[in-house]
């Protein structure tokens, strides 16, 4: 079988916002990745010590897998059809059928099984996203937003990746756009999405989520060396920085994407204060990166005099406070 749907690949910083932006562009609505990320209420924080990846606790700097699409679709008035499968064969047949009908398909997949992903990134992380836009012989044509150009993947590997097991198992999940709206109220949608994120970050009554979650992490992190010993503490720390900065998950990175979104909104809504808040958000991203630099020195065993867990906890608490101020201000602006 040979199918190739004309699809323009644009590389992006984050997989899910990149996939959605590229799918929307394909359907005639050209949105930036940052705008898509913002409309999808992509920014988030949760420290989930009870979910483990490689025996180490999970921290997320963005919304759950599928969250961006779930929020952006109603905000934009688009219809996205999502399907999950219990049988692998059925899942591949459904994909082939859609491709045959000329529909580019988004997939949630496990990154561990993808041969084209650089070896060093292959962990059992199951919430990666990509677009399949064709098939050639035994290979699928793939637009993976974190890759510079289109790639191919053998069907066996793709099938495996679609049915990766463990935390956030994709269960063959595929999605595609079935309807585009006549008119889009971008400004209104952006305002709503900002309120959504601001509420989640400042008003969630759960101690591990949002600004409270960031503080909770800071308090826990401070005690890691005593509670876990130096070696394990360094492993926890390394995992945290990986969640924050590594491919497709860049968390300092997520703060920067959101800052880019706020900047775009500032122009869109002719609202000057948004530009200022965008700058403040940039500063938070820089602060998260400062933490990562110290953390990396500790992981490498090259800690300098002031590189302590207490110092890192202070930076993280400062991030929490700064994010609290930004989102409180945003909430005021839009509600």
């Amino acid at each position: 079988m040979k199918v190739e749907i004309p699809f323009s690949h644009r590389q992006s910083a984050h997989c899910e916002s990149g996939v959605l932006a590229n799918l929307l562009t394909h359907h005639g609505l050209e949105l930036s990745e940052a705008m898509t990320f913002g409309l999808g209420a992509g920014l988030f924080f949760a420290y989930l010590p009870f979910i483990k990846l490689n025996h180490l606790p999970l921290t997320t700097f963005r919304s759950a897998a599928g969250g961006i699409i779930k929020h952006a679709a109603p905000a934009l008035g688009i219809c996205v059809t999502t399907k999950r499968f219990s049988r692998e064969k059925k899942a591949m047949e459904a994909l082939d059928r859609l491709l045959g009908n000329g529909v580019p398909v988004g997939l949630q997949i496990g990154i561990y099984w993808l041969p084209y992903i650089p070896r060093a990134f292959r962990f059992h992380f199951n919430a990666h996203n990509l677009v399949v836009y064709g098939q050639q012989g035994d290979e699928y044509l793939i637009s993976d937003p974190v890759m510079p150009g289109p790639v191919t993947c053998p069907s066996m590997d793709l099938q495996r990746a679609r049915f990766a097991k463990g935390a956030l198992a994709p269960k063959g999940r595929l999605y595609y756009i079935t309807r585009m709206p006549q008119k889009i109220e971008l400004a209104q949608a952006a305002g709503k999405a900002i309120v959504k994120v601001s509420k989640l970050m400042t008003k969630t009554p759960v101690p591990i989520i949002g600004v409270r979650g960031i503080r909770f992490l800071a308090n826990r992190l401070e005690k890691w060396p005593v509670k876990l010993g130096d070696k394990k503490a360094a492993l926890y720390l390394g995992q945290l920085v990986r969640m924050q900065e590594e491919i497709g998950t860049g968390g300092g990175g997520f703060r920067f994407i959101y800052a880019a979104f706020l900047q775009e909104c500032g122009a869109l809504l002719a609202e000057k204060s948004l530009t200022g808040l965008s700058e403040k958000m940039t500063a938070v991203g820089d602060r998260w990166r400062e933490f990562a630099v110290i953390a990396a020195r500790i992981c490498k065993g090259r800690a300098e005099k002031d590189d302590t867990y207490a110092a890192m906890a202070d930076i993280i608490r400062d991030c929490a406070e700064r994010e609290r101020r930004i989102f409180t201000r945003l909430l005021h602006l839009f509600s």
Binding site: Q11, S12, A13, E33, A34, N54, H55, Y112, P118, R119, A120, F121, F123, H124, V146, M147, P148, K165, G166, A169, A234, L235, L237, G238, Q239, V241, R242, E245, E246, I247, G250, G252, G253, F256, I257, A259, A260, Q263, E264, S278, E279, T282, G285, D286, R289, A292, V293, A295, A296, C299, K300
Partner: protein
């Protein structure tokens, strides 16, 4: 972060350039390519060193006869009993049993084939119980 501050430390990305959002000279956000960041390279290396370390420990335990060869493939593939059980569609208890050298030696062919498929090795290779002399870290291999 400004465009000129976007790190260009090559390492784990195998030459794949990533996108980072950074500010240009006019304070506007742009997408900038990054070859990687030493901070990320460090923590990524730490993760792989840990995987190699655990795999080496498992090899030693297998040689002492404490666990079966299955443990090596699990460590190599970053799987614990729970995750492997899900891939193999078995109960965790059964996977744990297969970690006993004696039980493993008596595994039926189709069970061996099931595991071999998950770990992407030939069933003969898996069943032979051959082990490498040492663990290859992806940073050295």
């Amino acid at each position: 972060m400004k465009v000129e501050d976007v790190p260009q430390d090559s390492g784990i990305t195998e030459g794949v350039s990533e996108i980072r959002y950074a500010l240009d000279n006019d304070g506007r956000y742009v997408m900038a390519g990054s070859k990687g960041w030493d901070v990320v390279n460090t923590v990524n290396r730490q993760a792989w060193d840990e995987i190699s370390h655990q795999t080496a420990e498992v090899l030693a335990r297998i040689r002492r006869g404490e666990v079966s060869v299955l443990a090596y493939y699990m460590a190599l593939n970053q799987m614990d009993e729970m995750l492997l059980a899900k891939y193999a569609r078995l109960s965790r208890r059964r996977v744990r049993r297969h970690l006993k050298p004696k039980v493993f030696a008596g595994l039926k062919r189709d069970m061996q084939a099931c595991y071999a498929r998950i770990f992407r090795v030939e069933v003969e290779e898996f069943a032979s119980g051959r082990l490498p002399d040492s663990v290859i870290n992806i940073y050295e291999g």
